[in-house]
């Protein structure tokens, strides 16, 4: 079983050796980075049971802050991740504290986080002299990495980014797995299953919800930084509602009951529309159709359905 769990990762790590198509590897890179976002979102949605709509905002805040730190203070990408994380933590704590202090649940929590997410987008959109408004920013830098044996080099080109984003995804999964297997994860589950009971058992609901929200947002912010430096471009639509909804769709598509489920969703939603040659309109239609069919036919998501079948058999 453990071996089986490592097999897909090993296969992914070996893939560029066999497959030389830049087109397909690029789809993988996008899937990995969006997969990071989806996995982290699932921490707060699938495992703590809170439908946050703030995820795209965290993604965008991470992207913008990392780039702006690099360009304003001339620090390296790695150092720039610190102010990005710090800002995300600060904002998450404020937004989360407001929502959880007032005990907002389900739909209401979604609406208030959505409102804050829109406020963040409007700030980014209108703070022209810093964020360059609707035009967005060009990210010309690439992160420099030092590896024993290889020395320091720029992460550039498809294969380098493939491994970089794969490691990012693995670290995200690792962090989520560590958190969820500890007592923290059990508190999250208790809150998801029965909030009142969890409170009666002495679990500080406010603290653990805030923790879940903040960890998920930091991970999303890091994914945003990666995305910005990979694509070389940042625009306000990173923080859009559509982006949040895409992430939710990936999670539900892949399956919200497992840590890695959302990655499957990220692959399907990123890959499928590109694999089939279609016009933009037909692509949007296909996207909608995939979404609707999975929700109606596979309510546990792709991975959930597969695993459920195997268990039933």
């Amino acid at each position: 079983m453990t071996a089986l769990r490592w097999l897909p990762w090993a296969a992914l790590a070996l893939l560029p050796l066999v497959l030389h198509s830049n087109f397909i590897l690029t789809i993988f890179i996008f899937s990995f980075i969006l997969g990071m976002t989806a996995v982290s979102f699932n921490l707060v949605f699938g495992f703590t049971g809170q439908l946050s709509m703030f995820h795209a905002a965290a993604f965008g805040i991470g992207a913008y802050t990392t780039y702006l730190s690099v360009s304003l203070w001339h620090v390296s990408f790695w150092i720039a991740l610190l102010p990005a994380s710090a800002l995300t933590v600060a904002i998450s704590l404020v937004v989360g504290a407001i929502c959880f202090k007032f005990k907002l649940k389900a739909f209401y929590f979604a609406v208030v986080t959505l409102a804050f997410s829109e406020l963040a987008r409007l700030v980014v959109l209108n703070w022209n002299n810093v964020t360059n408004g609707t035009l967005g920013l060009m990210v010309l830098d690439k992160p420099v990495l030092w590896l024993p044996g290889a020395g320091s080099f720029k992460i550039d080109g498809t294969t380098a980014w493939y491994y970089f984003s794969l490691v990012g995804l693995m670290l995200t999964v690792l962090v989520c797995a560590i958190v969820l297997r500890s007592w923290i994860g059990r508190c999250f589950a208790a809150i998801r299953l029965n909030e009142d009971l969890a409170q009666t058992l002495g679990i500080d609901i406010f603290r653990y919800k805030l923790l879940s929200f903040t960890i998920a947002n930091i991970l999303a912010a890091l994914a945003g930084s990666l995305y910005a430096f990979y694509t070389g471009y940042i625009e306000p639509s990173y923080l859009s509602i559509a982006q949040s909804l895409d992430i939710i769709a990936m999670v539900l598509l892949g399956g919200r009951t497992s840590i890695v489920g959302p990655i499957v969703g990220a692959f399907v939603l990123t890959g499928l529309p590109h694999v089939i040659e279609l016009s933009a309109e037909m692509r949007a239609m296909l996207y909608g159709l995939i979404l609707i069919l999975t929700i109606l036919l596979m309510p546990n998501g792709i991975l959930g359905t597969l695993v459920g079948r195997r268990r039933a058999a």
Binding site: I98, L104, I248, R283, A284, M285, L289, L291
Partner: protein, 286 residues
């Protein structure tokens, strides 16, 4: 200044009643089926484009074109309900995602059919009423009157007719309503279809004032949800009041404050309401 203020307030009221009619659909659907139909904005867009098509290309007069446009939007709503929403009752997240998938499909369809170029319908009613220094465009007054009338009629129907009381009963206790002989499945479908008809009606009137584009629905559904929360989920009059408050806040806010943030003023209002009075202005405390 006074003139600008009054003009902006009037505009805010008109846009606000449009938010209100979408909010009414949101509130009814949420109360009876437990989901938020985010695709309502798309049914509004369908109603608007059908009206434009019937008036400008077929050549029907506007009042006659209204009926087929609303029926068309409701027909699409019926199909969507039977194929999709029927399976997502009382499942907020699934309903949300199914409606998002539907948005994607309808919007792409509209782009294919009508392209992204904005369409302007020919004027239905020109001229304005002069009240001293203030001029009120006639069409805007008509739109306001029609939308407000539909919202009040819906309210009256909900409180006076058997079907309306059945809906209220169902929202309070589904099982008890079922035992009292309410055909629940039919009631839920009827409410979903009625909300799409309302959205289509809003869209048809929208077409007489503003230019149309396939993406127009997105803004209105967001405002509709905000207005529904502001007024209180479950309250028809609340959705009208919520919509008008939202519209006027935005219109007046953009005179005195940077207009780039106009979408934010309403949101701040909604957040404040949710934090201090979660049942909304007109909602009953539970």
């Amino acid at each position: 200044m006074g003139q600008l203020l009054i003009g902006q307030t009037l505009n805010g009221v008109i846009v606000g009643t449009l938010y209100g009619i979408i909010a009414l659909g949101v509130t009814l659907t949420f109360g009876i089926t437990g989901i938020v139909n985010f695709a309502l904005g798309e049914f509004m867009m369908i109603g608007a484009y059908l009206t434009w098509y019937l008036v400008d290309l077929v050549g029907l007069p506007f009042p006659i074109a209204l009926l087929p446009a609303v029926v068309g939007a409701a027909g699409c709503g019926f199909v969507a309900d039977q194929l999709l929403f029927r399976f997502t009752r009382n499942n907020l997240v699934n309903g949300l995602l199914v409606s998002i998938g539907l948005i994607s499909i309808i919007e792409a369809g509209a782009l294919l059919l009508w392209s992204a170029t904005p369409k302007d319908m020919s004027y239905v009613l020109t001229g304005a009423l002069q009240l001293g220094a203030i001029s009120l465009p006639k069409m805007k007054l008509v739109v306001f009157a029609l939308l407000a009338a539909v919202i009040f009629l819906t309210y009256a129907a909900l409180s006076r007719t058997w079907m309306g009381r059945a809906a209220f009963a169902f929202a309070q206790n589904a099982e008890a309503a079922m035992l009292m002989g309410v055909r629940t499945a039919r009631l839920q479908s009827a409410v979903v279809v009625y909300s799409t008809a309302l959205a289509g009606f809003g869209g048809a009137l929208y077409a007489s004032l503003y230019s149309l584009e396939p993406a127009m629905g997105g803004l209105y559904i967001l405002k509709g949800v905000e207005a529904a929360i502001l007024g209180g989920i479950g309250s028809p009059i609340g959705s009208l009041v919520g919509g008008v408050i939202l519209g006027v806040t935005e219109a007046i806010g953009s005179i005195y404050l940077p207009s780039a943030f106009r979408d934010a003023y309403g949101l701040l209002f909604v957040v404040a309401i949710l934090l201090y009075r979660p049942s909304g202005l007109f909602g009953s405390d539970r």
